[in-house]
Amino acid sequence: MAWIDELLLEGEKRVDELEVYSFSGTSTSAELKQRRVSLCTSSVETGLCIRTIDKGRIGSSSTNNPKEWRACLDAAIAGGRLATPQEWKGLPDPVVLPKEDLSFDPTVSPDPEITRDLLSQMLEGASEHPDATVTSGGAGIGIGEITFANSHGIRYLSRQSEVSVSLEAISGQSTGYEFDHAVSRTLVNPEKVGEQATFLAARSAGGKDIPTGDYNVIFSPMAYADLMSNIFVPALSGRNVLQNRSKLAGRIGEQVCAPLLSLYDDPHRKGAERSTWFDAEGTPTRRLDFVKDGTLEMFAYDLKTACRAGTESTGSAIRAGFGGLPAIGHHNFIIDGKREEIFDEPAVYVHSVVGAHTANPMSGDFSVEMSNPFCVKDGALAEPIRGAMITGNFFDLQKQVAALGKESRAVGSYILPPVKINNVRIIGK
């Protein structure tokens, strides 16, 4: 892409340093309305984000039209003039990175016919529980290419692919939702998604009330990841730590979780969807052990926050879409530890929660409605529970984690097993 070199040359005349992030991708998706395919979509996306640094002033701009890079560069420099100057140690220099794409399967093709097949396979799986009716669903396939360049000579390329399916079902007034996503067609299981969504809807019907009290609760990967991402993970951001918005600030070396629990970012896991050799600012990525055996070990930093905090970037910069500025996040957030058979003893299983985003991210206090809760008996989901709220302080609950289940799955950027926490307050109706 010759225009990137031209852009960098032009930019270097006007500012100390600059970086260019360019994205192009194609995707296709199809949607179900009940058991019929109602629409099929195809899209082509491009994007460009420029960041300039001049005497510690950081400016940025983005556009979905790379041909307009000159206007984008002007806007970035103008934004930079406004920014408060800050300590700045420079953009990263190039290093030799492995060529292999970690989150890409070259056989993935955004073919509308394949999305239709994925939907058919989901419907086949859904037929196993005829008591439940499919209400909606979707299948999508996308591939994309990222070019990252900076004025220090970095030219990195990376390709990504994603295949995703989801299904919603209902039985009377009982609903079920399931999804799957992966970098390859062969790694998603549409039949199982269909079977599980209808299983949840059919088996949750006729649930009984549960009295208010403290229970041993098994959080499904979906439920736990939802609360984790809204409450605990923001507290690991170096920016929130620096700005006094993290409950974990100043607690490095302290035990913040049960000793059996480890939380880490593994950006080099092959086949995981967010794997990458370099972060959104071109810093080489590495494994980050945030919590090791229950002890808080570190926080996540990008370049500018690291400069302010007097530390190094941890390669944690990510972008929310092409237009997104680099911000502190994670690549593949892994929740791990010793695995056990957690369904053997009586417990309450919660499949998902309604309203995790309404939790108090500062204090960790939450009270949310449970979806598809069941009583667990003899290693399986037994009687459904009609519905109730689950409440507590999510930071405190991490110390009460009793065990991790055997099988991990991907939920967005999280990879985790079901998590059992003892003595959690449930409010009955």
């Binding site: 395919v37 629409l39 979905n64 016919e113 985003h357 204090s363 409010i427």
Partner: protein, 446 residues
């Protein structure tokens, strides 16, 4: 524009725009910048359903080039196997209300200065962290369809939010004050919002934990607006009704609330969810979802109007470059005739819940949850001790019967609502409301 064989209908909606943001963190301008975009979505209705093309950087095409574009969308329309019919509805466009001060006439330097002042106003004793954001989006929308209908308009949505975090002895609480509008630049002399965020964060440090359970509740206009949005608005969306994923399906005319309860979605109101015309070129109209306690009308687009009936089209909305979905706009509970004193004395003992940290609903199950920013215990009709982290959950079909009194003054609050990966500007509102037997969640113990 020529009709193509196999194409029953097509439309094209192009949105070009620019958004400007300023992010201030503890007195420092973290980032400021402008983003430009130009996105189009072309929908073709074939014999068995929709083929949709999403195109970045669309420049208007005509003749053979346009026909080729239609042909590729038509090819996608061969994938579905649905029966789709489109209902008809009036097509008029409303005028976008004029602005008091055009954001474009204010330099980004001045915007940043004003935002810094709002953020600085949150610098109060015990406040350990402050943050403020400004966001402005100016969009030009053009629409055309195969019936020859065409329109275009420009709208600017802008606003800011300020957050304060207070802490003392390991207790950390926050206050958050947003204000978004379609009425032009709103950042002048708004230090009050910074003060308010700080006061809330500091007051919450001393608030107790609410004890969960069933109790009488008084909801402030903001939270009662969220109730209208989560408990009724979503479940009345025509696509969910058509899919069978709403407890309101098949309940037209059924009484699900008291005589005093009327809940409305009105995209014509000059509030943050205003639309001059919907995303399918249909005139927007006030829709009384619940009238005097009965299910009265659903929110529709053309397809769900034809499939479900009973309701009003003109509720199709879309983000730039995305296909339209059935959405709410300005959703509210109509005013009643109760005074505030009457509402609190009727509640007698219970809880007053105010402000909102958002909510969520499972419309098929008919269960919703939302969180108040703060609350007060009500003892003998009087507000007493402040409480924090209180949420409310309920079942759509039973909770509305518990709304027994509505106050006289309605207040709207602006925000954003997400559905199907798309976020659109909305407002919610209500008067003060008395809700009997609310299910309140909180982690406080006896």
């Amino acid at each position: 524009m020529s009709e193509k064989p196999g194409i029953r209908y097509y439309d094209l909606r192009q949105t070009s725009g620019q958004s400007t943001h300023i992010d201030v963190d503890n007195g420092v301008i973290e980032s400021a910048g402008t983003t430009f975009y130009n996105k189009a979505v072309i929908r073709v209705l074939g014999p068995r359903g929709w083929g949709i093309l999403q195109i970045d950087n669309y420049s208007p095409l005509s003749g053979k080039k346009f026909d080729e574009l239609l042909a590729s969308a038509e090819k996608l329309a061969l994938v579905p196997d649905d029966t789709v019919n489109l209902g008809d509805a009036p097509r008029t466009i409303r005028k976008v209300p004029g602005v008091k001060e055009d954001c474009r006439n204010v330099s980004i330097e001045e915007k940043a200065k004003l935002l810094l002042a709002v953020e600085k106003a949150a610098d109060q004793p015990l406040v350990t962290s402050r943050r403020a954001n400004y966001l402005e989006r100016i969009e030009n929308v053009t629409f055309m369809d195969s019936s020859g209908s065409e329109y275009s308009y420009e709208i600017c949505r802008s606003g800011f939010s300020v957050m304060a975090v207070a802490s003392r002895n390991g207790t950390v609480q926050m206050g958050y004050e947003p204000d978004h509008t379609i009425h032009g630049f709103n950042l002048r002399h708004r230090e009050d919002k910074g003060h308010k965020a700080a006061e809330m964060a500091v007051s919450l440090l001393d608030a107790g934990m609410a004890k969960g359970g069933k109790m009488n509740a008084v909801l402030d206009p903001e939270l009662a607006g969220v109730l209208a949005h989560e408990a009724v608005g979503h479940a009345s969306e025509g696509d969910l009704i058509e899919e069978g994923n709403s407890v309101l399906k098949g309940r037209s005319g059924e009484k699900i609330g008291n005589d005093i309860l009327t809940i409305v979605d009105d995209p014509t109101l000059h509030e943050f969810g205003f639309e001059p015309v919907d995303a399918e070129g249909i005139a927007v109209a006030r829709t009384e979802i619940i009238r005097a306690g009965r299910v009265n009308a659903f929110l529709h687009n053309r397809q769900t109007l034809a499939a479900v009936g009973n309701g009003v089209a003109g509720h199709a909305r879309a983000m730039a470059g995305e296909p339209p979905l059935v959405r709410m706009s300005n959703t509210f509970i109509e005013t009643g005739d109760a005074t505030d004193d009457e509402i609190f004395s009727e509640c007698k003992n219970g809880i007053f819940l105010a402000g909102s940290r958002g909510g969520q609903v499972d419309p098929g199950r008919g269960v919703f949850q939302f969180n108040a920013e703060y609350g007060y215990l009500i003892e003998n009709g009087e507000k007493t001790r402040m409480v924090r982290d209180v949420s409310l959950s309920g079942e759509i079909l039973s909770t509305l019967h518990g709304i027994l009194l509505c106050g006289k003054n309605r207040v709207m609050h602006s925000g954003y609502c997400g559905k199907g990966g798309q976020s659109v500007p909305v407002s919610d509102g209500a008067p003060l409301v008395f809700l009997r037997d609310a299910v309140v969640g909180g982690s406080g113990l006896d």
